[in-house]
Amino acid sequence: MKKYILIILVCSCCFNLSALGSNINEGQTDSIKRKWYLPRDAKIQYAGNIGFLSAGITYYLAKDWYRLSFMYGSTSMHSHVHTLNTVAFKNTFLIKQFHIGDFVVAPTAGLSINFGSTHNTYRNLPSYFPNDYYFQNKIHFAPFVGAMVYHPLPYKIIKGIDFYTEIGTIDNYLLEGIRTEYVKFYDIWNLALGISIHF
C-alpha cells in the first residue's frame, strides 16, 4: 500500500515538472512569464471530506485540464476535537470546457488523496500492535465529480475567478455502498463548494 501511494506521488511530481515545463513554453501569451513554482490559483473550499474549511493552491499538470491542488483543511473548531486536520492532494480533471459568452463552464471529475490526522489515525501501527492488526486509517482516496464556472477578470494579478461544486465520497463509504444492500449508493455522497482566484 505504502509503495503504491509513493509511486502515485512520485509519478505525480514527475508529471508535474514535465507538464510545468511545457506550460512555461506554451505560456508565451502570458503577460508575465510564469515561474515554475507559482501556483495557477488559490482556493477556499467548504466541506468535501477535507475539513469544515480548507484552503490550497493549484498547479496545472497538463495544460489546464489536469490540475493538482494541495489543500489543507481543519475540522477541529467545528467538532470540538483538538486534532482533526487533513492534507489533500486533489487531482481535478476538466472533462470538457464550454465557452458561454465570457464564461467557461466545465464538468469536472477527480481523485483526492487525503491524509487525515486525529489522535488515533495510523499509517504505521505503533510497536505494541501485532503486525497487520489494522489496515492503515490515515490515507483515504476520495473520488468526486462536479462542475466549475470560470470568469476572466481584467486585472494584472488576479486574472480570473471560478466557483465550483463537487459531489464526492471516500474509499470506505464507496466500498460499503458496493458491498452491502443496506448502504444505498446515494447515501455515500456529499457536497462541497469552493471558490478559486486565478493568477
Binding site: 487525515g116 466557483f163 463509504y173 457536497l191
Partner: protein, 269 residues
C-alpha cells in the same frame, strides 16, 4: 464584458454559492470522515435508553439479548434487529462492542440507524475498532460515558471500556471496574460486560488484571465480544465467559436471569 455586467452576472453566481452554504446545513455536506457530527436523535442514547427501563425495580425473571461485533455487516445486523423485534420476551438488548469497523462518522450513523429500530432499549460497550480515529469522541457523543452501570430487576450490569492498545497502550480504569463489581447485597447478580475477554489479545489470560478482578469479585458470568467466535464456559476459575460471535455468524444470544442464576440460549436467525 464591462465591469457592471461582470458584477451583475458573477455576483449572482457568488450569492447563490454563499447562500447555498447556509441551507447546506441540512444538505449532505461532510467535513471529514472523522467528524464528530451526530444528529440529535442519535445523541446520549445510553441515557435515553436508561430512562426507558428506570421504573422496573422488582426482582422477577427476565430475559435480555446479546449481540456483538456488528462492524459493517449492516445486512446481517438488520436481519438480527428484525429477528429480535419478532420476539416479545426480551426486555432489552446489549451490544458487546465493535459497533463500527473504522469508527468513521457515517459508520456510526449507519449503526445508530439500524439499532434504533429495535423495539426494546439497547445498551452498548465500546470496542477496540470504535476507538480508532476520532471514534471515542463519536461514541461519547452518541452514547455517553464509556463506563457506566445500571440495575434491572435485581441484576447489576457493569459496562466497562477495557480497551488497551487503542488507548495508546494505557490501562483501562480498573479501579472503577473493581469498585463497581462489588455487590453491597442489593443485587442478586452482578454481570460485567466488556469487549475483550481476558483470554484474547490485549490481555494475558489467567494472570491478567481483568481476570483477577473478575475472580476476586466472585463474578458468575462475564460477557464479551471481540473474538468473532461463540464461546460459553469457564476458562480459568469460577467465572463463566459468554463471548458472542460476530453478527455475520447470524446468531444472537438470549440470557435469562432468574433469582441470581442465569441460562443462555444461542439463537440462529
Amino acid at each position: 464584458m464591462i465591469r457592471r455586467d461582470f458584477i451583475k452576472t458573477n455576483g449572482l453566481v457568488c450569492l447563490s454559492a454563499i447562500l447555498g452554504v447556509f441551507p447546506g446545513c441540512s444538505l449532505p455536506y461532510e467535513y471529514s470522515p472523522y467528524d464528530n457530527k451526530v444528529e440529535s436523535k442519535f445523541r446520549d442514547l445510553t441515557s435515553k435508553n436508561l430512562d426507558k427501563i428506570k421504573t422496573t425495580d422488582n426482582n422477577e425473571t427476565f430475559k435480555f439479548a446479546f449481540i456483538t461485533d456488528t462492524h459493517t455487516f449492516y445486512d446481517e445486523f438488520e436481519d438480527a434487529v428484525t429477528a429480535l423485534n419478532a420476539r416479545d420476551d426480551i426486555d432489552f438488548v446489549i451490544h458487546g462492542g465493535d459497533l463500527t469497523l473504522s469508527a468513521l462518522h457515517k459508520e456510526f450513523t449507519w449503526f445508530n440507524e439500524i439499532i434504533s429500530r429495535l423495539n426494546v432499549p439497547f445498551f452498548t460497550v465500546i470496542g477496540n475498532h470504535d476507538h480508532l480515529s476520532n471514534g471515542e469522541r463519536l461514541y461519547h457523543t452518541s452514547f455517553g460515558e464509556n463506563n457506566y452501570t445500571f440495575t434491572y430487576k435485581g441484576c447489576k450490569f457493569v459496562m466497562f471500556d477495557n480497551i488497551v492498545w487503542e488507548r495508546k497502550n494505557t490501562d483501562p480504569d480498573f479501579d472503577w471496574f473493581n469498585e463497581n463489581l462489588k455487590n453491597d447485597g442489593s443485587a442478586d447478580l452482578v454481570i460485567p460486560v466488556s469487549h475483550i475477554p481476558p483470554y484474547s489479545d490485549q490481555y494475558d489470560g489467567e494472570d491478567s488484571i481483568l481476570n483477577q478482578i473478575l475472580e476476586n469479585n466472585n463474578i458468575k458470568l462475564s460477557i464479551h465480544g471481540h473474538t468473532h467466535s461463540f464461546y460459553h464456559g469457564k476458562k480459568y476459575g469460577k467465572t463463566d465467559f459468554l463471548v458472542g460471535g460476530d453478527i455475520a455468524d447470524n446468531h444472537y444470544q438470549v440470557i435469562t436471569i432468574d433469582n441470581g442464576n442465569y441460562s443462555i440460549e444461542n439463537i440462529a436467525f
